[in-house]
Amino acid sequence: MTAAMQELSALDRSIINRLQDGIPVCAAPYAELAAELGTDETTLLQRLRALKGAGYLSRIGPMYNVERMGGAFTLAALRVPEARFDEVAGIVNAFPEVAHNYRRDHAFNMWFVVAVADAEAMDSVLSRIKAATGLEVYNFPKQEEFYLRLKFDV
């Protein structure tokens, strides 16, 4: 167990563990979960607000699959000369379609996720990033996904 986990109460840990498995679609989902966890609805809601506020939970709710909604995602990378790194980061981040962008310790040193509501717009966004940065944009769209719910037992 990490130090961060040790800061959490047994109830908070059981809440995080249980709610990763799902929130039911029913009239009073939190009351149902609270009963399972041996607490009450008011306490559960209060702890969820606190855990979200403190950043232990990044989201509580539906996880949408953009591809099933007609949109598209891709992972793209750039090899940015070190001297231009900040400038290029500014250009890339200014694209509203760029959802996340990370510096990584590799020759391919900038990795970002591009999300578009209409899958047909993807090529145009990547071309515009190439034009704006003057750098080759390496596009790594997923071809197959082995998605297993990540459950952190805390």
Binding site: T2, A3, A4, I16, L19, Q20, G22, I23, P24, V25, C26, A27, A28, Y30, L45, L48, K52, A54, L57, S58, R59, I60, G61, P62, M63, Y64, N65, V66, R68, M69, F73, L75, A77, A89, V92, N93, V98, A99, H100, Y102, R103, R104, D105, W111, F112, A115, Y138, F140, P141, K142, Q143, E144, E145, F146, Y147, L148, R149, L150, F152, V154
Partner: protein
């Protein structure tokens, strides 16, 4: 359709789903009856809202309704993108094996970009620190054995942008 008619038409089908997606961008309301609250905001019945979520789950538009832990906040400070060059004919099975490991959150087959980028299997590996991630990557290399032509692990050293947009896919 006139605006008066549009407002008179009850929300259903895709229009209702679209509104629910918009209303839950920040998550499900943390109130005793969250689906009723959404129904009230849209002027539809709570049954219609719950039916819409069940339908979206059945079609895979909603992967799941759940809490998502922030692994970084929980002390998993080492997050490495491990990348693997696996022969095409073996990559699917390798992906299934790697994706099933506890330390791996996401595993994808992606195209190579030869000659610069030989890797076709990406697996996000989480551990308490970089050493833990390196150990996990070594364990994965052992599992994959002779199927691995080469591999690497890239650590993020800086978050340059993180928008509010969230999906289970990233």
């Amino acid at each position: 359709m006139s605006e008066a008619l549009a407002t008179a038409t009850p929300l259903d089908g895709e229009a209702l789903e679209q509104r629910l997606i918009e209303l839950t961008q920040q998550g499900l309301p943390l109130v005793p009856h969250p689906y009723h609250q959404l129904a009230g905001q849209l002027g539809v019945s709570s049954e219609a809202v719950m039916a819409a979520f069940r339908a979206m789950q059945a079609r895979g538009v909603v992967r799941r309704i759940a809490a998502v832990p922030n692994h970084y906040r929980l002390g998993f400070r080492g997050n490495g993108m491990s990348v693997w060059d696996i022969p095409d004919e073996a990559v699917r099975e390798a992906g299934r094996e790697v994706g099933a490991l506890d330390c791996v959150s996401h595993c994808y087959i992606r195209p190579r970009a030869l000659p610069d980028w030989p890797y076709n299997l990406f697996a996000m590996v989480h551990g308490r620190d970089r050493d833990a991630v390196h150990e996990q990557v070594a364990a994965i290399a052992q599992i994959l054995g002779g199927r691995v032509r080469s591999h690497d692990v890239l650590f993020s050293t800086e978050v340059l942008k993180k928008s509010g947009f969230r999906s289970a896919a990233t």
